[in-house]
């Protein structure tokens, strides 16, 4: 049905706001928090301290005009000097990706769990916990997901040698 197709494409087209507009909006939403908002190509990057993480996610989720209510992906990174947590969020209408980056000390450290906001975060946190040794606070007891109890060390760290 060609008519239906055009309608849908128009919807997506309309939904795409200009990135700069969006950046300003997000900056306004998070104005009293210590965050750094950047716009790069098609993505918006928000750098947050771990103390503010939950507050930032909560506000972005409940923002009335553009709600980042979908957790796309969670990535734990070993950058050598430090670790980093990345949260890929997605807003469905208008359609936009947003990345939250949280720096962590090299030896591990604790970030607040976001499983209370996004149910899908549960397994991601378990995976990152066993692979990178990052602790998550404020969630039910964390169990291993892939590896057995005999596994020593954190496989996805750069200094790990199997």
């Amino acid at each position: 049905m060609p008519g239906e197709k055009n309608e849908l494409e128009e919807l997506y087209f309309k939904a795409r706001l200009s990135l700069l507009n969006l950046k300003d909006r997000i900056q306004e939403t998070l104005r009293d928090l210590k965050v750094q908002v950047e716009a790069e190509e098609a993505e918006i990057i928000v750098r947050v301290d771990r103390g503010d993480l939950l507050e930032v996610l909560q506000r972005l989720k409940e923002e009335s005009r553009i709600s980042f209510d979908l957790l796309l992906d969670m990535v734990g990174l070993d950058l050598g000097k430090e670790l980093e947590m990345m949260y890929y969020l997605c807003a469905s209408e208008p359609w936009q990706i947003l990345v939250i980056k949280v720096p962590l000390p090299a030896e591990g450290g604790t970030v607040p769990s976001i499983a209370s906001l996004f149910k899908g975060a549960d397994w991601y946190e378990r995976e990152i916990h066993e692979m990178l040794g990052i602790q998550f606070s404020g969630r039910k007891e964390i169990e291993r997901l892939f590896t057995s109890e005999q596994q020593e060390g954190f496989p996805l760290r750069k200094d790990f040698r199997g």
Partner: protein, 372 residues
């Protein structure tokens, strides 16, 4: 006749173990279900039996040496992973893919989408106790696999896409064989419809079980046919067209209720849309190069990239960091089944054990990509 039950009769919850080796778990998957009588009150999945550490392995290999690993994630739809990986690197290296290569990629990926949906169709029938559809579905899947073998040289782990295009051009006679398949497939789909959708017992089994509302589906992050079954009309091929999908005319089937039956119908209708895409692509297949000029050793500029595509089971994501060397610094794979399977618990609680098997099957997981 009534049965007298005394007040001090005590019933206990019972735990039963499924798997890891069980015909209905589609791989090596284990879960422990807590039952009250025959009703599931809690379920705890356990994974990791197929964990190969592909993300770590990839860091220690060159970009294209590690490439065949991604075939082994979703081993029945390997081209979808190859496509996503290639697109991610092409985005990072700013490579323009020739039109012919884009079309070839679309044709093969859509063929594979049909073949995985056929497996879903076949196993769903099996799980509901209908054995015949299995044989019919595998007959057509065989024809598709033969086509894939013709084009790529392998039936399953194809290793065919390359950065900037494909490994080699489509062989002679491929188009003729493909058109033969396209001409007979619509009538075969009718046959499938009659075999299962026209089967009243099957429909009654599938309806109203494993209902997943759109709010909870989004909260978990479910994607693909499982999300569209819940009535959310989201498909990356439309929302963020890649590899030339914006040139093709197709619809996004979606469910209304979010039960197992809707998810089944969505996949069945998606096969029809795949056929539409393939026939448009083969009709408009342009000439020209099948691969862009790309250096032999891939060394992308330092930077990071996130690419996502619509796989057969949902959203596929590749997050790659390059430090400018020939090995990736980090490869993170977002596997759709890994997220979709988290929706199992809200779906099954309150249903009986036989329904548990059907609901589990309706998510359509593959263990290779969950365990990675």
């Amino acid at each position: 006749m009534t049965i007298e039950v005394s007040d001090d009769l005590r019933t206990e919850l019972m735990e039963i173990n499924f798997g890891p080796h069980h015909p209905s778990t589609h791989g090596i998957f284990r879960f422990i279900a807590t039952l009250d009588g025959e009703v599931v009150v809690d379920i705890e999945p356990y994974i990791g039996y197929l964990h190969r550490g592909i993300e770590k392995l990839a860091e220690n290999k060159k970009y294209m040496t590690g490439f065949p690993l991604y075939d082994r994630l979703d081993y029945i739809a390997s081209l979808t992973y190859e496509l996503c990986f290639c697109l991610a690197l092409e985005k990072l290296m700013e490579i323009e893919v020739p039109e012919r290569a884009q079309f070839i990629r679309v044709i093969l990926v859509e063929l594979q989408r049909i073949s995985t949906h056929l497996i879903f169709y076949a196993t769903t029938g099996l799980e509901a106790g209908a054995y015949t559809p299995f044989l019919y579905a595998f007959r057509e899947r065989e024809a598709i696999l033969r086509l894939l073998e013709m084009a790529t040289g392998a039936r399953m782990t194809t290793n065919y896409f390359r950065i900037g295009g494909v490994k080699w051009d489509l062989p002679e006679g491929f188009e003729k064989e493909l058109r033969k398949l396209l001409s007979k497939f619509p009538s075969r789909l009718e046959e499938y419809d009659q075999l299962l959708t026209g089967n009243e017992i099957f429909c009654q089994r599938m309806k109203n079980i494993g209902i997943l509302g759109p709010e909870i589906a989004i909260n978990i992050g479910v994607s693909g046919p499982t999300l569209r079954g819940s009535g959310v009309r989201f498909d990356l091929r439309k929302a963020e067209p890649y590899s030339g999908y914006d040139r093709f005319d197709f619809d996004i089937p979606y469910g209304l209720k979010g039960d197992a039956y809707d998810r089944y119908l969505v996949r069945l209708q998606e096969m029809r849309q795949c056929l539409r895409i393939i026939s448009q692509a083969i009709d408009g297949l342009p000439g020209g190069d099948f691969r862009a000029r790309v250096p032999k050793v891939i060394k992308p500029p330092a930077g990071e990239v996130y690419m996502r595509t619509e796989g057969t089971r949902g959203e596929l994501g590749f997050y790659i960091i390059s430090d400018g060397s020939a090995n990736p610094y980090k490869v993170k794979i977002r596997a759709p089944s890994f997220v979709n399977i988290m929706a199992l618990k809200p779906m099954v609680v309150g249903h009986t054990v036989p329904d548990l098997i059907l609901i589990f099957g309706s998510i359509d997981i593959v263990m290779g990509e969950i365990d990675r």
